[in-house]
């Protein structure tokens, strides 16, 4: 794990924001927004189940209009974190405040700003879609005069118009999922927390739901958990990767892209030298063999060995065939951070 962290640390010019090794971009423009725009703030959230520590000192912060993707393999603690953020589970340590209201001290006031779609949508099968959304609006204390419009709006936004008078139990999984999302936004909360919102949906529905989430992100803060990586890249502004209960990575998507572009090259050589010869070139942090004639060169922090690589290839007659900046996708980061330790 240490080795992996070091790689990412060296790649990152930002500072480590806390001692647990979570990296946070310090140059993101959003960071300068005023603190009143902070909708969710969690510090050092921890939760143990018996001896097992499911979540260990996770911190996160979210501003209005931001979409945060919570990523991690199964059992990383995503759901537990979300349960703590929504007051469904009391943390063993740390605190949560929603729109400046402490969730543990004033739970009802804080929950009024929250909409939550858990892993299994909490649906009453014996109610019709409209009855159910009306109940959800009542439970979230939407005043009577606004209730009708709030329900109609949620129905429209989630594309439920055709099924309003059908029993929820008779709906397909995709529609049930949409009802679950409608339930989370019917009271137009400041913070919407969605636990794997696109699970069990067909590709068209997934596209619709992603569109809906992006739309929500304009006016609300959204936290969503998923293991679908393209979902995060296409929808989220920020990404936080969890592994074994702690945050192992946290940055903006743009930061992630910028930051990795040009930090690695793929080098194709017809007559390659020893791998160690490549690794000792100044500015190279690590050289890996992709195939017999193709190498992946990782740059050292602040170094750019591209020039040297080209010169050496000519001088030593390595037969250069290819020199391409390797794209580092979120998937690489994810796999790296969450698998190295297990291996």
């Amino acid at each position: 794990m240490n080795a992996v962290k070091l790689v990412y640390f060296s790649l990152h010019r930002g500072r480590a924001s806390n001692s647990r090794g979570a990296w946070q971009a310090d140059d993101s423009p959003i960071m300068t927004a005023s603190s009143s725009d902070i909708t969710v703030s969690a510090q050092g959230l921890s939760r143990s189940f018996g001896a097992r520590r499911a979540v260990d000192a996770v911190s996160l912060e979210l501003r209005r209009g931001e979409i945060l993707g919570l990523l991690g393999p199964n059992g990383a603690g995503k759901t537990t974190t979300m349960q703590m953020l929504t007051g469904n589970l009391a943390p063993s340590g740390g605190g949560v405040s929603i729109c400046g209201i402490d969730l543990l001290e004033q739970p009802t006031a804080a929950k009024a700003h929250l909409g939550y779609l858990p892993e299994h949508p909490p649906l009453y099968r014996e109610l019709t879609v409209r009855e159910y959304l009306d109940l959800a609006a009542r439970l979230h204390r939407v005043a009577r005069p606004r209730r009708g419009t709030a329900v109609a709006e949620a129905i429209e936004r989630c594309g439920l118009a055709e099924v309003t008078s059908r029993l929820i139990g008779a709906l397909s999984k995709g529609y049930q999922q949409r009802v679950g999302i409608a339930q989370a936004i019917v009271h137009s909360p400041d913070v919407v927390i969605l636990d794997e919102p696109t699970v069990g949906l067909d590709p068209n529905q997934i596209r619709d739901i992603r569109g809906l989430i992006r739309e929500l992100g304009d006016s609300h803060s959204v936290i969503l958990s998923t293991h679908i990586l393209p979902e995060v890249e296409s929808v989220c502004d920020r990404v936080q990767i969890m592994h074994h209960g702690s945050t192992v990575f946290s940055d903006t998507i743009t930061g992630l892209r910028q930051f990795h572009a040009g930090r690695r090259v793929l080098l194709g050589l017809r007559r390659p030298p020893q791998l160690s010869a490549l690794a000792t070139i100044p500015g190279v942090a690590r050289a890996e063999e992709v195939s017999a004639n193709l190498f992946r060169i990782n740059f050292a922090n602040g170094g750019d060995p591209t020039d040297t690589l080209v010169r050496r290839a000519v001088d030593d007659d390595w037969g250069l065939t290819q020199l391409t900046p390797a794209q580092t996708s979120l998937e690489d980061v994810f796999t790296h951070l969450t698998q190295t330790e297990d291996a």
Binding site: T108, K111, P122, L123, L135, A136
Partner: protein, 257 residues
Amino acid sequence: MIFTIAAKELKALFASPLAWIVLTLTQLIVSYGFLQRIDDFVELQPQLAETPNAPGVTALVAAPVYATLAVVMLFAVPLLAMRLIAEERRNQTMVLLVSAPLSITEIVLGKFLGLMLFLLLAIGIITLMPLALLLGGRLDFGLLASLLIGSVLLTASFAAVGFYASALTAQPIIAALIGFGSLLIMLLLVGVNAADGLREHGWTVAADFVQVLSPLNNFDPFARGMFDSYSAVCLLLLVIAFLTLTIRRLDAARLGA
């Protein structure tokens, strides 16, 4: 907000066949006993007319109706209460209530009120039977009122016990068994008259404790037409105790102890 939850519970009860079956069976059993009592009364009437200070139709026909009702409720209430929490847990719908800006107390009181409204309806329908006797005679409304109050309090205490049982598990059937079993044990306490025995030994606190835990014993004075405030308080205490336990239980679930 309590009423919103109560309305939701009531709707859920009526949406399930269980509630209708329980209502039907209650009606059948109680009305059978009622009709039999009327037959007996008609047969005995000439003799009663000659006896001075003979018990009236309310005592001879109405009182047994509520006694039967109490026994039927002993079976019915745990079945009706079992879904209150256990089913929400099993269907994972509890999250909707817990995530909403509601306190656990509101949730518990709302659910209890919803169940009680249903049970009041059942008691109300049963009460139509003795009221039908007005067609052919007069009723002792004092006794009838005391029977009604006693039945409501007794049913409430059953409901509170059943509710707590439901908060203990995620399996409605298990909840019904726990609720029914606990009520049965309480019934046994009546049988051996444990409270009186303890009182004879001078252990009054223990006696009061057992008294609270024997709801049928506390129903007796009401069945005799006496509004006994001690019994009423005992029944109410049982309700409050088990509702408090339920609230604590649900809070503990959030803490995941």
